[in-house]
């Protein structure tokens, strides 16, 4: 994208995707317009700037700022560069250079994004153009500080599928065979009075009465009582608990680790000492430990009839990671597109992972110690699993990337707020669109052609550095030199073969019909059949 002098560079950037998508989704988009616009999106300003591309140098362009995005189009004839960045990904806007700055392009704005890149624009020193742009960007990128609504509340997109109906707690518990002799459903938290960060509907140990739960709640951090995550069969809840410390580090360590990853991949990829630099970020080491923890949890659950109580000191951070990964390992349902959406909806959103604090939606305080890439780390673990088991997941890499893109974009209500009660107060499901609406109305794009459904298959990834790799297509996707072919060539070949198979099956049916029509006729064609149709190339 940033570097794009050809269209190929654009192939899987967030921006272009949203362009293609909006047109494909039939969202209003006047092609004569300079900027793609979502329903509810309004243009605020536009300016001529120099975009300082870290890969191809300065490019003159016009930037358009709406209440949703920053859009830049190159004004140079030999460049088709387009930048299309949702304002939600911005974590920090800095002015660079002052009135006395002399150097070329040294006066302007430096924008730090949450998705592993920085954008730098040089502006003219005259006419307050920088001040205007800075103020408008600050206002719309950090609306909470200016008493403005997040864009999700202004978005008027319509989809033919309603993503908010994907997850229905009662139905999902029923799918798991709950309630049963050991677990019961309770409405004790119906109005979030027991624990405001838990969902309204809970499954709790059968023998624990609502009074017990209330008593337990007072002892636990923010009244978060133990409840079912996986909801697996249990003998006797919590008796003889075995204690395992998983050595997984806290949210602050994770944040610093991701910063180091950015240092080695953006804008330039550390070349000669790539491996040791990668090791020094510890990012994959953290991934390894999270996966190891999840394997242990999954193994404990599947080997005996034991229940596993997973908890961390507060917040639904490590807990959400471990439970959801363990569930992904044990239950193939969650490896489908909708299953995964339900998993995220239940284990992360409903159980109160503090998305608002961890991501900082619309908030300008980029140094907030509550921010941490916990959910990104989870998605990375899922990617590592899908890499090790390329046929086990219904979704592809693009699915994971689009989830991460809209984790920040604020276009959908899905990841907004810290807990279910806050979401209910804000009437999120009524006033915003769900990310799953977008994905489920265009599922084909997110499907893995190699997916083989296997109902009872347990997946244990190998949590060894030998098999873990940096997710290049996500972390280094802005670098045109590293960009990998999309779609993956093996995948593409498989799709071609699938199409060929369907064509042959059709042809065979036609031939069968034709043959039965003239049964007694001798073969008429003297030419060899190979001349009559293209033969499959057996490369591979």
């Amino acid at each position: 994208m940033a570097s794009a002098s050809t269209s190929k560079y654009n192939s899987h950037s967030l921006e272009n995707e949203s362009i293609k998508r909006t047109s494909r989704d039939g969202v209003n988009r006047d092609l004569t317009e300079a900027v793609p616009r979502l329903p509810g999106e309004t243009l605020i300003t536009d300016k001529e700037v120099i975009y300082i591309c870290p890969f191809n140098g300065p490019i003159k362009g016009r930037v358009y700022i709406t209440n949703y995005r920053l859009y830049l189009r190159s004004l140079e004839t030999d460049s088709s560069l387009i930048l299309d960045v949702p304002l939600g990904v911005i974590s920090r806007i800095e002015k660079m250079g002052g009135a006395t700055s002399r150097g070329e392009n040294s006066y302007g704005l430096d924008i730090t994004c949450k998705d592993m890149r920085n954008l730098r624009f040089a502006l003219k020193q005259e006419g307050h153009s920088r001040r205007d742009m800075f103020e408008i960007l600050t206002r719309y990128a950090f609306p909470l500080a200016h008493s403005l609504p997040l864009f999700a509340f202004l978005n008027e997109e319509k989809f033919n599928v309603d993503g908010w109906t994907v997850y229905n707690p009662v139905e999902e518990y029923r799918r798991q065979g709950l309630p049963n002799h050991h677990w019961r459903i309770t409405f004790i938290n119906k109005c979030y009075e027991l624990c405001d960060t838990y969902p309204a509907l809970l499954v709790v140990p059968y023998r624990a009465s609502d009074d017990d739960l209330r008593r337990v709640a007072t002892f636990r951090s923010r009244n978060r009582i133990p409840a079912t995550g996986g909801g697996y069969e249990s003998d006797d809840a919590y008796h003889n608990a075995e204690l395992f410390f998983l050595d997984i580090h806290n949210i602050h360590v994770m944040r610093e680790s991701l910063k180091k990853v950015k240092d080695i991949v953006y804008p330039n990829v550390e070349e000669s000492h790539w491996l040791s630099s990668l090791e020094s970020t510890h990012w994959l080491e953290h991934i390894k430990l999270v996966l190891t923890g999840a394997i242990q949890v999954a193994d404990k659950v599947s080997s005996g009839k034991s229940s596993v109580l997973v908890h961390c000191s507060d917040g639904w951070d490590r807990t959400a990671q471990l439970t959801s990964l363990a569930m992904l390992m044990l239950d193939s349902f969650y490896r489908s597109i909708e299953g995964f959406e339900i998993l995220v909806q239940k284990e992360w959103i409903s159980f109160g992972h503090k998305f608002a604090s961890r991501i900082g939606h619309g908030d300008k305080n980029h140094t907030d110690a509550d921010r941490s890439p916990i959910f990104l780390q989870f998605i990375d673990c899922v990617w590592q699993m899908s890499k090790q088991f390329p046929t086990a997941f219904e979704f592809n890499e693009q699915f994971l990337i689009i989830i991460l893109d809209h984790l920040y974009s604020c276009r959908f209500g899905t990841f907004l707020f810290n807990c279910e009660s806050a979401r209910e107060r804000q009437k999120v499901t009524e006033r915003t669109v769900s990310l799953w609406s977008l994905i489920n109305s265009n599922k084909e794009k997110f499907k893995n052609p190699f997916y083989t459904k296997e109902i009872n298959r347990v997946l244990y990834p190998v949590a060894s550095m030998r098999h873990l790799e940096l997710w290049v297509n996500y972390y280094i996707r802005w670098n045109p030199r590293i960009k990998q072919q999309q779609p993956n060539p093996v995948e593409q070949r498989y799709m071609e073969l699938l199409a060929l198979r369907d064509e042959y099956i059709k042809r065979l049916e036609e031939l069968q019909l034709a043959n039965s029509a003239k049964l007694s006729d001798p073969p008429t064609s003297p030419s060899s059949p190979s001349q009559m149709m293209p033969h499959v190339q057996t490369h591979f």
């Binding site: 410390f245 998983l246 070349e271 790539w274 630099s277 596993v308 030998r466 498989y494 042959y504």
Partner: protein
Amino acid sequence: MLGKGVVGGGGGTKAPKPSFVSYVRPEEIHTNEKEVTEKEVTLHLLPGEQLLCEASTVLKYVQEDSCQHGVYGRLVCTDFKIAFLGDDESALDNDETQFKNKVIGENDITLHCVDQIYGVFDEKKKTLFGQLKKYPEKLIIHCKDLRVFQFCLRYTKEEEVKRIVSGIIHHTQAPKLLKRLFLFSYATAAQNNTVTDPKNHTVMFDTLKDWCWELERTKGNMKYKAVSVNEGYKVCERLPAYFVVPTPLPEENVQRFQGHGIPIWCWSCHNGSALLKMSALPKEQDDGILQIQKSFLDGIYKTIHRPPYEIVKTEDLSSNFLSLQEIQTAYSKFKQLFLIDNSTEFWDTDIKWFSLLESSSWLDIIRRCLKKAIEITECMEAQNMNVLLLEENASDLCCLISSLVQLMMDPHCRTRIGFQSLIQKEWVMGGHCFLDRCNHLRQNDKEEVPVFLLFLDCVWQLVHQHPPAFEFTETYLTVLSDSLYIPIFSTFFFNSPHQKDTNMSSPKRGFFREETDHLIKNLLGKRISKLINSSDELQDNFREFYDSWHSKSTDYHGLLLPHIEGPEIKVWAQRYLRWIPEAQILGGGQVATLSKLLEMMEEVQSLQEKIDERHHSQQAPQAEAPCLLRNSARLSSLFPFALLQRHSSKPVLPTSGWKALGDEDDLAKREDEFVDLGDV
């Protein structure tokens, strides 16, 4: 080459009479054949293969689910391999039917595949060599294909221990004569029915016709000619009997310095520019001789600088590039990362994995080779230059770089036949000293350098990055790398075509004793500086070429360049991790998608056949061939090499702890997190 045919296992009972004189002490030869047949487990012997010694009640360690257990059986040593025959045969080789072309069983180690032998004495691991005073209680064999075998000898009779251990040490480590290679006894005993049809088979480049065919294919015949001046190895034994030189080059020139200082054609590009190689002139002290050499080279250069050749860029691989010593050192470190004795070792090294990898430099060496090949490709493709590769004997890095350039530029080389022909042309006929570089005869450890393996690893990077551009898969490359150590294929067991043709050992040449040839630097220095642009400019050309190629969509039938950035150069996991049970992904790995792809291909092909049949007549459809790869999701990532399949579905758990985070310790203490797991 490899796929010459299926090698049938000879019957153990009817081993043919030895056709050569063994230098093994008579008492080592097992003469009582009846005893062999009476055993429940039969030893499969190839035609010409001879049992030398054996020991019973040997315990082989098997790694399963992070714990070791033992299997009793016989350990035998023949003149071809070391083999372990488990007493419970049913547990072994049950997948034999799947691999009809398997020559080496999972418990077979060819003598040439043995890398190091260790003995364990009172819990201490020591390298074993020469005559032993004391015999170990445990034998550990590290193989060149990176398998690790551990045999416990505690329950074996002392006599048998002595015999088997000294037998194995002797037959794998003592210097051998070329004549003693199993190859010869096998060739005598087995029927060799090679068919050669140049169109559909590997071109061997052992006839003038083959070279003419290649010249014609690449349209190099306008400027280059095939010569037979070395027929019968009259001029030199280093060069093949036939090769190609620039048309105006007088044939006498070839004789002048036994083929040294002669630009030899490798390949021509569609735009007419060619890739050439040249071996350096012998190093001389005498000023008179130096003068003669100088004027000779001047003459040669005049010939190739004149039209139609135009610009020639000289690329000196012996001075400004990798040294063979570097390659050998890097690989020795690198392979140690995969020769893992047990689970603890695996997990202990896991946390430091990336820095261990980096400190071996192996991946960096791969990157440098690929980069050099891209630079040369840029000269030929974008600047229409001829490139002349220089090296002392033009038989190591010349083979490597020249083959890589051809793979990138010539799609024919990416077919299986084309690739094999390329190896035949550049490596076998190019005089790469396989015998010395693989140290097959154990005569001089200093000559051992895995140049060919480095080439295969570079090819793997290309195959991995652009699978649809190749007719073969990584498994083909892995099997090819294994065949380096199987002395029934003669391809990789000679130092030169002359040596192969005459079955004689040639005088040794020392690559490390002599430094890079001063002549090249001194005499050609001027010319090189004139021709090569300043390195910055070179870098710019390279960058532009590289970036522009990667910015376009890939044409798999055209020019093909690898990515060479840090994250793109990877470990050839199939070759290096395949024997490590901890690294096994049950039901996963690349094989999962690849086998789905093959299944689909099979289905499409059978549909195609059905349609073809319909067109011909209303024949009844033939019975479908059984599909070997059914249930592909259940294959392990080690397939088709998986012999360590874990039977249970228990996960493998890392056992090592957390590494100190250094300056992050403060952060690390800020919040504790733990998990407790309920009891059963």
